[in-house]
Symmetry: C2
Subunit: 335 residues, 2 copies
């Protein structure tokens, strides 16, 4: 590994409530767009719309749109609209994901499928997807619609790829990265790209911001895999080892199966197919012994370093520093 | 009823294979767009993509795009792209509908959910929706994206409305028309509107074509309700009385419950809640006795007459005549 690609000063960054204070007023405007654009549905489905509030998470994608815009010099009202569009698409994928995962709890409340059933979830997801597209077109800019369409389509293709590969314990690292590129990186990439585009940045800067967003998304997902294996349940709010139990291939596992000899790999795959408590412990031990967790952490750090390198085309600014901090947080977060 | 609003010469129009011969080469080009734009997915999910071929139906929406274009004077290559976009959105809704309806057969083959499960169906629908949006943006025209987004969003809102109102045996005629406006008319409307827009028609003509498309969609759906109650199973390929069995409110039923006295209406609602063979026969008899089937047919005829009136702004042409024939077919079809 090239040491210059390491994350410098990789001190854990906490995602505190005050971290985004410098862009609080912009984020509030995104919330206003979200509330007002969805309000016509309240006449028919107010309970469902109210329930979505509980799903409000880190608002990572709106944060990226606004920070990219500020780092490129200006924020215009379309930024709030498009940040809302991207968040809405993200919410649509969560609603459909919960059906796919048969999940009953998200962020400590019932999922839509648990409370209203799968049918309502499917249609609510569709409604959010299509509303987002309609809203994106109000920008009057077909290039923006094209980027949003392309990214969302990549998300769905990634999810479908993940579903068809489920249970394939021979998944390669390349296929893994192709999968998470769609599932997670497509939306963070388009958030940064559109932030730059609407700020009037030139093509090179737009492309650089897109690279940052993509690497951030990939690294974020690898870090997510690691949290599932070595996180603190009280902080993540999730049960550890869920990926292992669901036989979901993650980067540390792919590394492990790659570095051990063929017979050991077969035996580990057998353990993965029968994820008993003892087998999970065996796999966790093997991951530690063979440096697979460190490998994944290193890949995440490299990705963030590549992302930070792409930001070098930008002048110094508070927003640029915040993007860099967000990168460090993505790979060193504890929840 | 205003007699001038009747469909003149309402002789049944058969949707024969040769009916669309005058636009065969344009329809073939739409098929080519569909095949080539979806081909990148073949690497990962070729079985699924091949299966969609079985769902190929009447291609009503592409026919409307092409006929609207020709009636307005010219067909350009964007027409083929946008006709494919609208057909893809229609297919996406069919894939999700089959999950909602727990349907196992569509057009004589397994539904996607029956063969690959609900999860694959949800993601395949999402993939088609988002691919369609991406493709629509390649037109480079944000007005087109906005129309497509708005129409698709109306489809989803209509479907969600239908789901939340399921089992409401007090549904009003206004609510019924609001529902089918989204479910069916939004896409036929946008097909005609975009056909005109891309042909360079002026705003008045675009609006007139949109009205024709909307009325056609509404009438088509009312005719569908009638076919379920009085069609010929061997021609429709569907089991009669399915709507009644599923307690789905349709226009004849709404009329019936409106014209009988309160006690009779309550008793009929009770029969609808228990759709035994005897109760279904009782309802069918009541529909005939109270003229509810004729009422729905008349409403469908009126809608088509209104749609035809909107076409009067167009000069005579083969395409205009075909649009008029399509209107008659929509309300007098036997399958």
């Amino acid at each position: 590994m090239n040491p210059t690609l390491m994350v410098e000063n990789a001190v854990p960054v906490m995602l505190t409530k005050t971290l985004f204070d410098p862009i609080r007023s912009e984020l509030d405007q995104v919330e206003q767009v979200l509330a007002s654009t969805l309000s016509p549905y309240r006449r028919r489905i107010s309970d469902l719309m109210n329930h979505l509030k509980h799903f409000k998470g880190k608002r990572l994608r709106p944060v990226l749109v606004i920070l990219a815009a500020k780092a490129c010099g200006r924020v215009v009202s379309s930024h709030f609209t498009l940040a809302a569009v991207i968040e809405m698409i993200h919410t649509a994928t969560l609603v459909h994901d919960d059906v796919l995962d048969e999940a009953s709890i998200r962020r400590h409340v019932d999922t839509v499928n648990a409370r209203w059933g799968n049918k309502t979830s499917i249609l609510l997801g569709d409604l959010l997807f299509t509303h987002a597209f309609h809203l994106s077109a109000t920008s009057g800019d077909a290039r923006i619609c094209e980027r949003i369409g392309e990214a969302t389509n990549r998300v769905c293709a990634g999810e479908l790829f993940q579903l068809t590969e489920h249970g394939n314990l021979h998944l390669t690292e390349d296929a893994y990265f192709e999968m998470i590129d769609g599932k997670t990186a497509a939306l963070t990439e388009v958030a940064c790209r559109i932030g730059a585009m609407l700020a009037g940045a030139n093509d090179h800067v737009c492309e650089s911001l897109a690279i940052f967003g993509q690497k951030l998304g990939l690294a974020f997902q690898v870090a997510d895999d690691l949290l599932d294996l070595m996180g603190d349940e009280t902080k993540t709010g999730k049960t550890l080892g869920t990926d292992l139990e669901q036989q979901k291939m993650t980067l540390p596992l792919i590394h492990l199966l790659e570095v051990v000899d063929g017979a050991e790999a077969d035996s580990l795959r057998d353990a993965m197919r029968h994820p008993t408590e003892a087998n999970i412990q065996r796999i966790l031990t093997a991951l530690r012994v063979h440096g697979s967790l460190e490998y994944a952490q290193r890949r995440a750090d490299e990705l963030i370093a590549e992302g930070r390198a792409a930001l070098q085309c930008l002048p110094s600014s508070t927003a640029k520093t915040m993007l860099e901090q967000l990168g460090t947080w993505a790979v060193r977060r504890q929840s």
